[in-house]
Structure formats: C-alpha cells, structure tokens
Symmetry: C2
C-alpha cells in the first residue's frame, strides 16, 4: 500500500485530513487549488467547493460551517470554518434512529469465558483482596504476593491469581456524598465483578468506609464476602496470615470453573484514551469506534467515559440519546462538573488549545469528536454515575475524569471485562481484574514501545481501511476475552493503577 | 505498682481522670463526696472544691469553667462545666514566655546518623525512586523490587534499600494551585530528604507534574536528579532496565557514607496520632508530649500537624505563638480549611461527639488538648504549609488533614527523620524513608498487636509517671534515629503509605 498523504475518514466527509506535511504550492489531493502556504499533517483540505454556511463534515459529522466560500483543495481551518451558534442546541434523540439503523448487524461472535451464577461471564478468574482503606493496603499486597509467588497457584490452573486492590483513601473523608459513594461503588463493583471468582474485604477497623455498612447498602453479597479487620485480627502479621489462610480455603472453589463459550453479547468493553496525539482522533479512536459499533451490533456493551473530554460537544451524544431520561442524566452530570471545577477554582474548557490548533483541530466539536470517535456511531443507550453497574447492552456513557487510572477503575467497577486504550504519545497502563489492550495511533509509537503496544493503527495513514483495523481490534478483544494475554498482562501491569475517584475534602 | 483507679495528669490540674469505672456511691479518690451515679473510665472528678466561674484545669491547661459550684469528689462534665465565651479569644503569644521557661533545658543527646553535604543528618540512607505521576508507579516499584530482592544490597551495607514513592496523582489535575503545589513540595521534599542518599524522578512524559518544571521551581538539585520518562525511554521493560542500571551506578556513591555522631538538635520528629481512643489523650499523647518537650529543650525539632484535630482550640496554640506572623499563618490556614470544607459540602467541627462525651470529654478544648498534648507545652515557633521544609528548631505546626498517611507524608516531606505515632484502637502504619515508631495508649492494644506496637503507655494508668514514659519514648526515638529498627520497619511497612494530599478537581 502506498501512503497517499491524505485520508478521508468517512464517505460523507467534505474534507480530507493530511497525513503528512504539504508544501506551499502543492496540491496534495491531486486536484483543486494549490496551497497558499505549507501545512502540517493533521490539517484539513476541502474535498470539493463549500458554500458559506455549508457544513464542514469530518468523521461523518458536522464539525463547523464554512464562514467564507471554500474551494476544492483549500486549507480548511479557523480562517474559513467556525461553529454556528445553533450547534450548541440540544436536539435530543434527533439522530437516534439513524444511529440505530447504521449499527452493523451481525450474528454474535463467541468467546470462551467463566460463567457466573448471576448470569455474567468473566474473561479472567481472579481472587480479589479489596482494601476498604489505605491502612490495609500493605497487608493485602503482602498476602497477594505471598500466594502469587508461592507456587501454589500451579495447582489451580483456572485461577489467574490474587489481585490486591489497594488505594489511598477510605478514611479522612466524609461518610456520605459523592466521594464516599464513588468509593463504595468501586469497591462493590470490583468485589462482584465477573472476572472475580471470590473477593475478600480487608479493613483496619475504625475507618469511614465500613465493611458492614457496604453490606447493608448492597445486600449480603452471598459467599463472596468474608471481611476481616486488622484491629480485630491482631495486627499486621496475623492479618496477613489470616488472609493467606482464607485464600487457601477459596482456591479450590474458585478453581472449579472452566472457560465455556459465550456470545460477545456478554462482553462489556471499556473505551479509553490517554496520552493522545494528533493522530489519535484520525486513526486509533475511529478504528476503535468501528470495533465498538460491531460489538454493539452483536448485542455487546461498550462504556465510553471521560466527561471533560466530551465537554462542549455533548450535543453530539444527546442527538444519539435513546430518551429524555438518558439526555437528562448526561446534562445533569455536565452541570455537576461545571460546579465541581468552579468550586475548585477552575473551569470546564475543552476548546482546542493553541497546540491543538497548530495540529489542525479547528473547533471544539472536532476535538471532542476525536475522543467520542472511540464509541463509533451507536445510539447512546444509558448514562451512569462513576462506577455504577451497567444496566443495558449497547453504548453507555459513564461519568468520570479523563485521568486514565481513575477513569478505567470506574469502567471496570461498572462491569467492563476488557479495556481498550488508545494512545499517541505512549502509555504503560495496565489493569486488573480486567485486562487492558493498548492501541497506538502511529507506527513510531508502536515501534518505540513494542512491549506495551498491542495494535498499531499507523497503517491507516498508509491506506489500511478503518474497517479492516476495526476488525483487527475486535478480533483481539475477543481473543483477549478468551484468555489470550495482552501486552500489559504479559508485563504483569495492573497492581498500581486501581484508583477510585476521590471527590471532596480530605479530612 | 498498684492502679489507684485515677490519674492526675499535671500538678496544676483541678480534676483527676478515672482510669477505671467507678460505681454509684463510691469515692474513687478516697476523699470528697460519694458519686451520685456510676461513671466510666475517662471521666473527670474534682480534686477539690471549685467555685462557679473558676477554671477546670486538665493537662495543666484550662478546658472550661465551673458553671455551678463543684465539690471535691464530684463528677465534672457537661452538667457543671462549660466553656466561657472569652476562651475563643485569640491572645496571641500570651503564654509564649511561660512556655519557653517551662521547656526543660538539657545538653543534647546524640544519635548516629548520615551527615549530608547540606548540613542535615539522615537517620536512614535510602535510594528513592520518585514517581511524578501514577503512570510511572509500576516501573519504579518493579525496579525497586528487582534491586531489593537481587542480593546486590549485601555489597552495600550502608544503604537501607531502594524505596519506590508511587502515588495516584500527577496528572488529571490543575497545573497550578494548592493541589499542584502540595504534590510538588512532597516530591521535592522526599527527593531531598536527609534520609535519601540519592533520588531519581521517573515520569511517563506527558503528565501535568513535569520534572523540568520542578527543577526550575527549586533549582538544579545537584547530583540528586537524573530524571527519566517512559515515553522517551521506550516503554515499561526498557524503563525498568534503565532505572535498575541507574541504581547500580548510584549504589557505590550512596554507600560511601557511615553513621557518625550528631546532636539531636539535628533531629526533626513528626508527631502523629491515628485510631485514637479514650486513653490516647491521657496516656500516649501526653507521654509523647514529655518526649517532645525534652527534644525541643535539646534544640531539636518537632512537627505537629492534623489541622482538623486542633480546630476549635487553636487559641491554645496561638497563646504559645512566637510572633504575630506565626499566629497569622495559623489563622490563615484555619480560614482556608473552613472554606475547603464548606465548598465540599461539609463543615469544620471538632466538638466532642456523643461518643466522645460518653467517654468523658466535656469541651472542644479538652478534646483538642488531647491531640495537642503530643506536642507538649513548647512555644509554637512556626507554621508551615503542607510538606514545606522546616525552617527552625522547636515546635512547628504543619497544616495537614488528620488522615494518617496523608499527614505523615507531609511531615516527612517537611524533613522529619523519625515519626512517632500514637494509637488507641490500633494501626498497621509504617513509613519510608523515615521510620515510624508506634505508641499504644493502652496495654490491651499493646498485647493484641505485639508485632506492631513499639511502646505501651498503658502503664501510666497503673502509676508509671508521664516523665518516665516520656523518657522511654525519647530513648527509643534516639535509638531508632541511630539505626535500630522500629516494629513497622521490621515488618517492612511503608511502601504503600506515601500519599500526597490531593486538593481540587480530578480532571
Ligand atoms: Ca497506591
Ligand atoms: Ca483522554
Ligand atoms: Ca483517559
Ligand atoms: Ca488523629
Ligand atoms: Ca492522623
């Protein structure tokens, strides 16, 4: 394949994206006017003539309107493209039917997973030690290390290991409110996650986040809960011993499952990006969007998150919303974020920065679309609080910060069994109990971090189709769900990236 | 020694504290009136007759005033003791001279420490790997584990090991403001800590907390800084290898120091409490206060913290303040906390809870004095922001939450080389690079957690004097400073308790 030097991302698009620098006087598309000045990769060129007021379309979506006449071959940017005020209007559900119709329908693929009593299917089979407070971080980490390095797991081949979910909060916090609720949902969501065969809560004893209160909030939790505290157990050494003994008891039971076929409609995939670059929005994210749409078409679930990164383009999601309640929840979350940042002395602002503009991003819609592209074009079926359990298949938006470990921790708590993470500048992220697949937006990164990157989307710049790359990502999702280890799993990552979203005063 | 059943904490006190339950009709002091009803341990009894309006004195300090006539032997609590409104007045420096005069003067004891080029003296000699962001948590932890378990440290007997200071922030945060400044001070304070022979910053590359910006803020940092990033180094595996190689280079240099005598005026001790109980304020905290005063008398430094726990009794510290600037800084921090909690939907409130009152605590002054008692009666010489470097010997108050790991992380960043941590309910806390000594308020706890508790203050209830217990604590501080391992060090604790205070929106 030869690199044509430009890319049309969607058949409806009225612009092409340059994939390499073009000099003054060049006609990179081979047609239209010559460039008046040199422009960099990532910038846009008009595919045909565009009248003033006519839509500029990228990703198959409106990113702005021509503010002056634009001719074929001309550079399209802030000098001739701007947002109309009506693009801020919330036309709830306007694109729902078309989004539904465009979702590719296919017979579900299958993966081999661990079928749980509650009907969920795990892609991994961990024993989870869950700290209610930082004070029990060390004892659970030590107990997990004891078991994982003892050799005993050789006798239990269906157990992926013991994961210690330690964190830096659980006390010195309000005993109610969003910070408390976030942590409680995250701990509960991990303890009851399909990838967790058994869970053990471990506390100090006097912390704010009480095991008993969590049980009362969610019900008994069945056999999964055998909580203990350091204060009752008699200190560090005895608690480590008690945890290790409890794991010995749990191992045979947790091992007594094996992978069985399941339709991918049992899969929930977390969509995430971090360390993005100018290529993320034109290669890795839309390729992931193709995979996401295929998964949705097969009845699966995908979880988009990172509220600050969709901010300013929420109307794009609202147009795809399945109902007023879904739209209202998204708007309520956005209003909450505006308050959250304001009281903390900041402001929500996802407008293209000077660096973004130098990279070719013209409007907030275009920038946010680059992030939203991870979720393809499926209808928006639900909006959830951070870490809340998924309620229906299809595309769900979960409220979260953009900060990778915090966002993914919420997505896994919500039930995602596989995470797909796009990056342009590079990331060493990994996660447990759900594995992370990392997707590079460019081949330079894929080559620079070969041990970390699972998929290279750089080929899209050289003519590999989005469709083909999307199928490659979907195939790797299914293989990973069936037990194939991702790069981050081979590296053993995921023991330091469990990071519940802290909100509120630390007391 | 026999347990008399009560305790007079200070010669000036007008009340005694019951150390065991007393029944209706009993006269636990052996004099005065009989009790009208049974009262529990921790409650107060009048040592003599007290006129209405006369001060009720505990810890040698006014905790309230008799609201009605009180006779010797009578129970003193909310029914006959309350705070006068003038106790809220800030009489800055009123007690400064008397506090100065009462500080015990003695020739400094000496400890054996590592003398650094900048004149500081370490009590340990670590190589610190400092993550600028969560994204580099795993690589530094893995590199530290590689070195610590490789056996190579046997060749470098003066090196205490490699400590990985990983955390959950550094990105998805504002690039300025109190949260950013806290983290920067904490990272800098640890990298330049007297207990750290060499430090290496490790980042991902694209995070908010930039290594270069930190260097610009603080100056070059000399040979201590050899920062690297995962994105530049080429991913997880290569970065771990690069860190391990860097440590190999550092080890001979860091090992080329040995312990030499130093006066305890070179010591800074962090005063901390967590998991307090009804005995904390009458045994462990005042005993630590005795040790603290002796250390201050020898020219040493002590760092009190935990602003929410002194709240409502700040006038007690202000009366001991060395100057208006010191008082102003404390008042500024308290006003900041009132705002911080208010915007987060809470309120500052350190008043005795129903549980506290049931335990015998009558006023906010009495409750806060129980916490402030850790700092003895020395003048308040300075007030610092969280994690800011100590500027002068004597008693410094450092602003922090009460949450143990967050508060101690700031105290160590400020330069504390030893931490003394009192607890009544029990704690499994440990810290690096400065070791933690744990002090139990009662013998039940000391017996229940023998591997965790270094000192048992329960004997104070049986007649051991505060003075004697204070000397025992001071002796252990000096021994620990000289290299003797504390209980938490023997357990290897401190790898999961590095927790910079996060303030502000997670983005
Ligand atoms: Ca951690
Ligand atoms: Ca992102
Ligand atoms: Ca992210
Ligand atoms: Ca405390
Ligand atoms: Ca504390």
């Amino acid at each position: 394949m030869t690199n044509p030097g430009w890319l049309q991302m969607h058949p409806r698009d009225t612009i092409a994206v340059l994939t390499r620098r073009a000099g003054k006087g060049e006609r990179p598309l081979g047609r239209g006017v010559a460039l008046e000045r040199a422009i960099e990769a990532g910038h846009k060129i008009a595919l045909g003539d565009i009248m003033p007021g006519e839509a500029i379309i990228k990703f198959g979506q409106i990113i702005g309107y021509a503010s002056v006449p634009v001719v074929a071959g001309e550079h399209v940017h802030t000098h001739n493209c701007s947002m109309g005020s009506h693009d801020r209007d919330y036309v709830i559900g306007a694109d729902f039917e078309s989004a539904l119709a465009s979702t590719p329908k296919a017979e579900p693929m299958t993966f081999a997973g661990y079928h749980r009593d509650d009907g969920t299917v795990g892609t991994r089979n961990y024993i989870a030690l869950v700290a209610t407070v930082n004070c029990s971080a060390t004892v659970i980490r030590r107990a997990a290390a004891d078991i994982n390095t003892s050799g005993i797991l050789d006798q239990f081949p269906n157990v992926d290991g013991v994961v210690a979910l330690s964190h830096g909060t659980g006390c010195g916090m309000a005993s109610e409110g969003p910070g408390h609720d976030n942590l409680q949902r995250v701990l509960w969501g991990h303890a009851t996650h399909p990838n967790v065969g058994a869970a053990l809560f471990v506390g100090l004893g006097c912390e704010v986040m009480q095991i008993a209160r969590m049980r009362a909030a969610y019900g008994e939790g069945g056999e999964r809960f055998h909580g203990l505290t350091i204060q009752e157990t008699g200190g560090t050494t005895r608690t480590v011993e008690a945890i290790v003994a409890a794991i010995h008891d749990l191992l045979p039971k947790v091992n007594a499952v094996s992978r069985e076929p399941a339709p991918v409609s049992k899969l929930a995939v977390a969509l995430q990006c971090g360390g993005s670059d100018g290529f993320s929005g034109i290669t890795a994210n839309p390729a992931l969007g193709v995979a996401s749409d295929m998964l949705v078409g097969m009845g699966g679930s995908v979880v988009l998150a990172e509220t600050p990164e969709i901010y300013g383009a929420e109307q794009l999601l609202l147009r795809r919303a399945a109902g007023q309640d879904v739209a209202d929840k998204l708007l309520e979350r956005i209003a909450w974020w505006e308050h959250y940042t304001a009281i903390n002395g900041g402001a929500m602002d996802n407008n293209p920065s000077p660096g973004n503009k130098a990279g070719g991003l013209t409007t907030i819609l275009e920038k946010s679309l680059g992030a939203v592209a991870k979720a393809g074009s499926a209808p928006l079926g639900d909006v959830l609080d951070y870490g809340a359990k998924l309620r229906r298949p299809g595309l769900t938006f979960m409220d979260s910060p953009g900060f990778d470990p915090v966002s993914v921790t919420g997505q896994i708590a919500s039930g995602a069994q596989v995470v797909v993470f796009t990056t342009g500048r590079g990331s060493a992220f990994g996660s447990k109990p759900a594995p992370t697949i990392k997707v590079a937006s460019n081949s330079r990164l894929a080559n620079a971090m070969p041990d970390d990157m699972d998929i290279d989307c750089g080929g899209i710049l050289d003519g590999v189709s989005m469709e083909e790359k999307g199928r490659e990502i979907l195939a790797l999702i299914v293989a990973t769900a069936s037990g194939q280890k991702s790069k981050s799993e081979k590296l053993g990552l995921g023991d330091n990236e469990f990071l519940p979203w802290q909100i509120g005063a630390v007391m």
